[in-house]
Symmetry: C2
Subunit: 313 residues, 2 copies
Amino acid sequence: MDTVFVQAPGSVSNLGSGFDVLGFALNEPFDELELRSTLQPGVRIINEHEYDLPDNPEKNVSGVVLLEALRRSGYSGGLELTVRKRIKPGSGIGSSAASAAGAAVAAGVLLGNIFSKPELLDLAMEGEFLASGARHADNVAPCIYGGVTLIRSMEPPDIIPLPPADLFVTIVHPQIEIQTAYARSIMPQEVPLKHAIRQWGNLGALVAGFYRNDPALIGRSMEDRVAEPYRKALIPGFDAIGAASRAAGALGGGISGSGPSLFQFSTTFATATAVAKAMNRIYTELGIAHHTYVTAINREGVRVLPLAQTRKS
Amino acid sequence: MDTVFVQAPGSVSNLGSGFDVLGFALNEPFDELELRSTLQPGVRIINEHEYDLPDNPEKNVSGVVLLEALRRSGYSGGLELTVRKRIKPGSGIGSSAASAAGAAVAAGVLLGNIFSKPELLDLAMEGEFLASGARHADNVAPCIYGGVTLIRSMEPPDIIPLPPADLFVTIVHPQIEIQTAYARSIMPQEVPLKHAIRQWGNLGALVAGFYRNDPALIGRSMEDRVAEPYRKALIPGFDAIGAASRAAGALGGGISGSGPSLFQFSTTFATATAVAKAMNRIYTELGIAHHTYVTAINREGVRVLPLAQTRKS
């Protein structure tokens, strides 16, 4: 095989009460990555999209992952990656994680299925380190494992895949910028014990809700006493979006990652579409450019496509 | 029916990382309660055990539950309860909860199965309020629902029964006294965010472990960064008991409730017995009087016995 084509999904981290530990992958949006082996050593990045991302592989999230994959594989040739990015950087739905996890999975397949899932996770975290200065796994874990993932521990990584419930997801991305570092800095470094107790009660119930495939339980567990009270001030229309979504039938939701995107769960496609309409109405009234997605929890993570499907005849 | 006989189990609260939210019921020890309806109104308590508990129903944990049950039922007669207490008060394995939940269940059956589980829980919390000044549910919930229970919220109560894993439990009760109020007072009222994140990562993994019936996952999730670091100083031999239990093959454990009892999970009866021996050895060396139980997670909670089994012929 000399070419691999993958779809690398967006993802939602900081799911509900699961700050820093719980996330899930999305069916849409996803990036498309095409990776070819070359005789010439080294990594070459070809950006075919509208965003201003570096071509230099040392400074590109996918690039550093591919460089590390080459080092670990011992392969003497090189890799050339064409990136068609669809997930806008800075949207809070795991754009860098898709670049990192997509590159890791594509390299693993192209080099002969040489990496296990924990190794793919480790590789992908190289890209997250470049993007954010931290080897965090909250977005790359659902991209690699699919579905909903819980990070029990990072030293060493202990990823628990949870059964994805049959849920539809509505995402709204208001076109404003939030720096992750700033969103982190405004959170207190101490949590009142009574809020912490409430938080892990909800987190445990949310995990139970996924195992039971129980939308009502998932809905009433979608409560965050730790990050949301501080971060919601960064997102215009936050309370209105939540109220309108519930009025339209959504189960509950919150901030995706550190924002600005917001998400809501629904049990049917029709409800998820009604929720998107409600979100559109509010941001239109507020005069804020935005984009919505009606999608579902992605069960497989990064998807490797057969070449026949990907090549135009 | 004019007599009901129940076995009300001990229970472990503050299970691992589930401070204030996660607990389970034990097969042993259990209290035996015999409740009779009487024509004479009011409640009479007959204590048939070695502990110094009040006969005055207004001051007795079971008594206040029965008085409230009578009020709610509208029954014009009275209730007479014989208490054979086996769970030592102050042991940290839910002695007051057994008195409260046992009385609630017995009254419910005797008065014609008139109370739902949430109503039984509410009744039993009257007893916990008398015992501790707080309507807490961490011990009465597993007594009423059986197995392992998660308290998502207390306002209003939202109890999530989790599938009990196939685990054996070793309990050691060193005969020392710890006041619950004191054990609570030494805990800081603020949790560092990084410890809180670790705590809910472990709590989520523990819940997943019960759903997966995965002893290894349950074992490595049995970590408590919030209560144990402060409370273990109150329990002599705490670290030695943990180390010896793991050496004997235990999966992990911790403080039961606010102590002084300690518990450990094992996958087999043989291991749980070896763990009890290791615990015995340590407290014997330390010269501390103690009692051990080798038991299992109780799946049914308070057990209502057919009268034929309970009456001596």
